[in-house]
Structures are given as structure tokens and as C-alpha cells.
Point group: C2
Chain length 494, copies 2
């Protein structure tokens, strides 16, 4: 066991080990966000360089230490006419490495551009589950997806991703997971027990050609503010199967719960996903195609992705499985980690150094006992992370505010922005990072004021109220096609 | 002087005197909102009756004490198909009384239905100045009106009011009034010094016929959260003219400040309004028409309305002037009040009992010295209210939450809802009050959850950001016609 653990540690990129030592003594709220003056000056220089590139001039004179307000203003205007995405390369020759087959050796530091684009693609699938989710507790569809699966990507501005959604899945939980289930205040609702938890999508022919195989994606929705989990969940591990493998109690229940008298969880999320995965894998294998499975999720979604990967690896032999998680908490014990490794599940955990969610649950236990772990080897009751880590730092971006903002640090859009700008553990923010910076502020206020992007701007007009012909403000019915259906009675894609 | 004061006090409706005694010892945050169980039971009965009326049934059986959730649900659906306004009566025979000529004798308790409708009409003019105001500090037009005066009422859903906007006016202040001026974060803005402060509108021929005269309205914008004034402004009175008349320093400066090098306040708000008023009065008098002036405003806007009325009464002889203010603070001393009375300015102050803004400034002074005032008569340095009072109580509405919410108590939409339901100081909420209840929650969360109206729902989609053809989220240019112009170079209406 010991040797296996050290093998896995070798897959971690170098910078993560150096960072790890700084984490040892920090409490959950003691994340230090010191003003890094040198970094900031670099930020100003990089920004001016970027500005210079944008307006097709080259800087000859030294940059003043302080960025002038008008520079930001110019940058903003120059940015507006630059496309947010560039043409996609054919990555088919290298797909197995990008999918983690070599445990990301030589791909993370510096970050390979092909891998960066793929990480962002899956990250945007994960982000879309937040953007599509109906959080409105006065809606009879609270907790569902606002759109049907056929127009899902179009409605969310992801129409050109080259994937089609094949199935939605739903989850419930028999145990009380704090602040997890979004529930309508109304009596007559689409479902009292379940929440929409994500989708399964499949690459179309063109995208499959570009990425070298038929790619099946499972995207698990997370939660936005999971801080309440910490207290309740940190000490509850439960066994999976007959062996030593144990995972966190709350995650397991969301993944596995079902109820005979529910409308959307007569089968569990696990069963819904696994049934569709088996169907799809059989379908494309029967056509002689190479098939891969990529499972993604942010926060809670990243934890569920790992449980899903474990089950898929056990149930579907010889399927290349890759988990790409963002800001995910720890899920299971060391035996769980080792079994995932045995099963060949390849995991890339994207982590922002200042985000405290990846330290949950078990943060106190693990941080304080790390010294014992080094002495004693694995303790099977300790939660542990699995796989390779891509470690990001908020200070690398010149666009982000300094200041303690734990929700902002954890937001997936913050992650995606930092990935887009990440070149290597030693270099500054990528100059030709063209992903729209405004997205960072969709649900937080992390962007510097000079960029003029309003905080928390992702909102619906009048919260969905419209004025009817009688002059009254009412909530219109949802379009029939976007009312949640019971998937079991619906025809499936492909 | 003493007799005059008592004359004015006689104009106060009866219930205000009884309420006044309860206010004597309450500090600014000591507003008591006790659960009035009897009131609430009445509320439940009234609600059930209203529901019964709505669905064209009559109640035969006694109403249970507790309103069932499903009743609210039914109410909500029944409400949706009822127009928010009924046909307007011709009130021309009674216009002088409605305009305050008889100091509202016999019109307030019970509230005359014609007066109720007129109060709400002016209140909606005042409310529109909030709805139209650009609060976005990242907009280059922050502090202006979002729409031009020609489409103003249409854009704000007030197209059928029968008035046309003739002029916008702007204000600045040479003294620092806390949280007053809304300023853009940007360098290049429509104005660095001024804010749009409201509009002057004139009744069209049809409305003039209905209300018995050509009515000129000045609607002053207020502020939403003026709690910071209290500390700074409570002790600063300054003289107006040569006599004893004194008014609050901050209000006076907003009303009178101008600057040679500004774009919108080369003349003060006072000068802009007075110039247009004189022009309009001369225009319609020269046509032999009867003309009236009605000045309205909420909060700060109500205070400025009073200053405006004072100046108009001094400058334009024989013009019937009426101020209808909502939740306005005290403005001046007793000599100011007496002079307004001498000048024939008729004032109706609408006040919600639980709102503390009408006790500002000078709340401490006045509340604690009330006993001295009764002994010594007027002290000219004490702020005092003027005119008649329409006193409302939050507990009268079965739709509102109980609980301390000072911002919600002060919101103009809360006022308008309570006016719509007010019959008399002794009766319950009006059953056929059809003004849309949802409006209450535009900028607060005062409505009971059972009504299913989201809190603070008045918001723009994505805070005005739209996705451009390059995939970037940007703030589009404002329509050319809605970019603020310098009124002096613009042709005026009529």
C-alpha cells in the first residue's frame, strides 16, 4: 500500500508539493491573502503588455508602477472586438495523454495548450449546470433544469461545443445534507424530493473526429455555498462494497438514494447514470468505435463525479475513464484512492490554492495529522485526495481583486478564468488568454473595479415576472417543452 | 402664532393624534411592531372575503382562524385576471377640495375614493423617478434618467396617465450630503456633478377635463436609504429670506446649488423648475385656462417638494399649490410652517406610522422636547411638520409580513399599497383594492411568502450586459435618444 501511495504522489505536479507545506497549519478561515507587491507590479506590466498587443503596438518605454485608470478603460474597449475563442486544433493523435492515460506527466507544468482547452470545455459543461438550474423557490419547477435537453447547449451559449445531451438525471437524499436540496415553497410542484443533478452528453461525429474518439461526458451539478457541510460531514465515512473502501456519508446518500413513491428517483442518480452509460458504451462499441468516458463536476459535483467514476470502472471493463474536478472536497479514504488507481481511473483535480472547499471534509483531521500520516503510512479512516492536481493561484491574475472572499475563491468561473491564464507554476498570466473576463463576475465580485463589470450580474429580468394584459406582474408558465418530464417515458437521444 | 399652530393641528385626521402619543418616547430604532393578533385574524377574514368576491361566491360558513396555504394560492391565480385599474370618474366638480383648498376637511377619515386615486396617481409619478433612475455606477450615464422625456411614461408603464413630461431638471450640492449623489466610477461621464432630480409634467386636454383644470406636476426624486442623514443633518438649520424662516441646510443646498463650469447645473434645480413653472403658468393662463400646481416627492423628494412649493407660492401669485409628500422628513422650523400656511400652500403628508424617516431630522430634539413645545408654544429652531397628515399603519394590510424592516417600511411602494387599502382609521383593508400587490416587493421583501412574489424583483437582465458577436459580455451603448441632453439646448414641450 505504501509504495502505491508514493506512486500516486509522484503524479502530482511539482508546485503542489511546495504549496502543500504552506497549508499545513492554516485553519479553514485562515487563508492568507497577503498583498503580493511584486506579483502586482508584474501584473501591471503584463496588463500593459496585453494592452499593447491588443492595440497592435509594442511597448518601448518602461511601464509605470501604477496602472492608469484610462489604461483599463482602453483595455476594456479593445477587448470587446476580440473573439473569445480561437480555431480548435485536431488533438486526436494525443487524446489518450490528454485523457490522463499517462497520469498527466509532462502536461501540467507547463500546461499543454490542448489540455487547457479540454479542461475548460469540461469546466464549461460543469458551469452550465449552475446557469441552467432553477433556484427560484417561488417557481413550481424549483430544483429542475430550466431548459429541455434538446435546446440545453443553445440556451446556455454552448451551441458550438460539438456535444449533444442524451439524458438528464436526478438525485434525492435519504439523509439530511445541509443546504443541498433546492425546494419550492409551493405545494404543487414538479417534484418534492428530487433535484436535477446534471446531464450525460456525447460528442458528435465532427467533435469525435477532432478528439480521436467518441466521448461520453457526465456533468454533475454541485452546490454554490457548501460551507455548512463542514461541521456535519467531516467525521462520517461509510463503506462501499466489502473491502476497506469508505467514502463520505452525505455524498454517498445523494449518489445512491431512491424512493418508490417519488416521481424522479424511483431509481437513484447512480442507477440512472449507469444505465445510460452502459447503453451508450454498448451502442458505440457495437459500431466499432473507440469510446471514452469523462466525468466532470465542481464542488459537490466533483465529489459525485469520483463516486460515479468508481462505479463505472467496476461495472464497465476496459473503458478509459477520466475525472476532471474543480474545487472538489475530499471524498473517501486511502483505500478508496488506491482502488481508483487500481481500476485505472485517471483524475485531474483543479484546485485554487486559496479555496478552502478542497480541504473539506476532514480538514482538521488531515491537516493536523499529516505529520502522522508521513510516519505511519495510510490511516484508512482519513479522507484523502486522489489523482493529479492542477494548482492555481488567485494572485496570478491581474484582473482579480485582492481581499478575502471565500465564495468568490470557490466559484467555478474564477477557476475557469485562472485556467485560461495559466501557463506554468513559474510564469505570469497568459497574454493571449481570450476567454471573456466578464464571466468571472457572473455570481460574485472578484473582478477589479477598473474593469467596469458589475458584480453578480447573471440575473433574469424582474426575476421572471412579466406584466400581463391586466397590468399585473405575474410569473408566466414555463414553455411546455421545458417542463421537466419523467425521463423514463421519454425517448432518448441516439 | 399660537392660534395658527392649533388651526393647523385641527387639520390632522383624528387617528394621528391618538397615534402621536405613542410616539413620544420611542427612539429612532425603537419602532414597535407588535404582532396584532386581532388584526391578523381580521386580516384572514378579510382575505377570505376578498377571495370569495374574486371567485364570485359568497361566504356562508365561518372562516377558520388560520388562512390555509391553498387559499393564498387560489387568491394569487384569481388576482391575475383582474385589471389593476378601474374606469376613472370625472372629479372636476370637486377638484379644489381634492387639491387641498379646504385643508382636506372630511376627506381623510374616511378617505374619499377620488382623493385616494389622485394621491396614488401622484405617488406613482414619484415612484417612477426611482424606476427610471440609472443607479449603475459602471454606467457612463450613472445618475441620469434612463429614458428621454418623450417616452418616459410609456417606458415606465404609465402611458395612460394623461400627462406629458415637459422638462427634466437636475441638481447638485455644494455641501456634502451623505449618500445623496449617485456618481459613476468612470472618467468620461455625462456629468460629474449633477444628478437627474425629476420632471415637470402637464395634464393633457382629456385629463384636464376630467380633473377640472390644467394641472402642472413637479415630481422630485428622493433617495432610497437616507439613514445617514440623521447624524449629520439634524442640527443644521439655515435662514431662507430675511425673516425667521429657516430650513434644513442639506435640503437647501440640493435645491439651490449651481456651478458655472458644470454641464447640467449652470442653473440650480430651483431655477430650472421655477423658470419652467412660470413659462407653463403664463402659457395656459394666456389661453384663459384654470391652472394648478401639484408638487410631489418621496423621502428627500418630499422635503424638496416643500421648498419648491414655498418658492413657487412666493413667485407666482394666486396659483393653487398642493404638495403631496410620502415619508418625507421634517424640513424647516415653525416659522417656515407658518409662512407656508400664510402663502396658502396646501400640504398632505402621507406617513406610515412605523417609518422612521418622517421623524428626521430633529427626531431627538422634537420627541424629547414635545412636552416643552406644549408649554412654551413654538420654538423657531425646532423642525416641524406642516399640513395635514394621512397616517397609515403596516398592520392594516393582510399581505405584509410582520417583523422589523425599516427600509421596507419606508419604500414608496409600501406606502402606495397601504393607501390603496386604506378606508378609514377604524376600518380594515379595502376589499376592492385592486392595485397590483406584487409591486410592493419591487425593491424589498415586505410581502408574505404565501403570495409567491420574489423579493427585490425589479432588476434588469444581466444588469444590462449583453453578449456581442464576438462572444463577449459588454454593456451596449444607450439609445441615442435616451442619452441625457442639456435641457437648455432642447426644445420644450407645449
Amino acid at each position: 500500500m505504501k509504495s502505491m501511495s508514493s506512486t500516486i504522489h509522484q503524479h502530482l505536479p511539482l508546485q503542489s508539493n511546495s504549496c502543500r507545506s504552506t497549508r499545513k497549519n492554516s485553519g479553514i478561515f485562515a487563508v492568507a491573502v497577503e498583498p503580493h507587491h511584486n506579483l502586482m507590479q508584474n501584473g501591471a506590466v503584463r496588463l500593459a503588455q496585453k494592452l499593447s498587443n491588443l492595440v497592435h503596438h509594442h511597448l518601448e518605454t518602461p511601464i509605470p508602477n501604477q496602472v492608469q485608470y484610462t489604461d483599463w478603460s482602453l483595455l476594456h474597449k479593445a477587448n470587446e472586438v476580440i473573439p473569445v475563442s480561437s480555431p480548435k486544433e485536431n488533438v486526436s493523435t494525443k487524446w489518450r495523454e490528454i485523457h490522463g492515460a499517462m497520469d498527466y506527466d509532462n502536461l501540467l507544468d507547463p500546461l499543454h495548450p490542448w489540455l487547457r482547452r479540454e479542461i475548460i470545455k469540461y469546466g464549461e459543461f460543469a458551469q452550465s449546470t449552475y446557469d441552467a438550474f432553477d433556484f427560484d423557490s417561488f417557481s413550481e419547477y424549483c430544483g429542475s433544469c430550466r431548459y429541455n435537453r434538446h435546446n440545453y447547449f443553445d440556451k446556455l451559449g454552448l451551441g458550438n461545443t460539438g456535444y449533444n445531451v442524451s439524458k438528464y438525471f436526478y438525485a434525492m437524499s435519504h439523509v439530511d445534507v445541509p443546504q443541498w436540496l433546492e425546494r419550492s415553497h409551493l405545494v404543487d410542484t414538479w417534484s418534492k424530493d428530487s433535484n436535477w443533478m446534471g446531464f450525460i452528453a456525447v460528442s458528435d461525429d465532427q467533435e469525435s473526429q477532432r478528439i480521436g474518439r467518441r466521448d461520453i461526458v457526465v456533468s454533475w451539478r454541485g452546490t454554490v455555498a457548501p460551507s455548512e457541510w463542514y461541521e456535519d460531514l467531516q467525521r462520517k465515512l461509510m463503506p462501499v462494497g466489502d473491502g476497506e473502501v469508505k467514502v463520505e456519508y452525505g455524498f454517498h446518500h445523494i449518489y445512491k438514494s431512491k424512493g418508490e413513491f417519488t416521481r424522479y428517483n424511483k431509481t437513484s442518480a447512480s442507477e440512472q447514470v449507469m444505465q445510460e452509460l452502459k447503453r451508450l458504451v454498448n451502442l458505440y462499441r457495437s459500431k466499432g468505435e473507440e469510446v471514452s468516458l469523462t466525468i466532470t463536476g465542481h464542488s459537490l459535483g466533483g465529489a459525485l463525479a469520483l463516486l460515479n467514476a468508481h462505479e463505472a470502472a467496476v461495472s464497465i471493463p476496459d473503458l478509459p475513464i477520466n475525472v476532471i474536478s474543480f474545487g472538489a472536497p475530499r471524498v473517501g479514504n486511502v483505500a478508496f484512492r488506491d482502488e481508483l488507481h487500481h481500476l485505472g481511473v485517471k483524475t485531474l483535480r483543479v484546485v485554487v490554492k486559496q479555496d478552502f472547499v478542497p480541504r473539506m471534509p476532514g480538514v482538521v483531521l488531515n491537516e493536523s495529522l499529516k505529520i502522522f500520516e508521513e510516519l505511519t503510512g495510510e490511516l484508512d479512516w482519513i479522507y484523502t485526495h486522489v489523482g493529479a492536481e492542477l494548482r492555481l493561484c488567485l494572485n496570478s491574475s491581474p484582473y482579480l481583486k485582492h481581499g478575502f472572499n471565500p465564495a468568490g475563491f470557490h466559484h467555478l468561473e474564477t477557476y475557469l478564468h485562472l485556467i485560461d491564464g495559466y501557463k506554468s507554476s513559474k510564469s505570469t498570466f497568459r497574454q493571449n488568454a481570450n476567454r471573456d473576463i466578464a464571466l468571472v463576475n457572473k455570481a460574485c465580485g472578484m473582478l477589479r473595479e477598473e474593469l467596469r463589470i458589475p458584480e453578480c450580474w447573471y440575473q433574469f429580468e424582474h426575476k421572471g415576472l412579466v406584466r400581463n394584459s391586466h397590468g399585473r406582474w405575474v410569473k408566466p408558465r414555463r414553455d411546455l417543452e421545458d417542463i421537466p418530464h419523467n425521463e423514463e417515458s421519454m425517448p432518448c437521444f441516439a
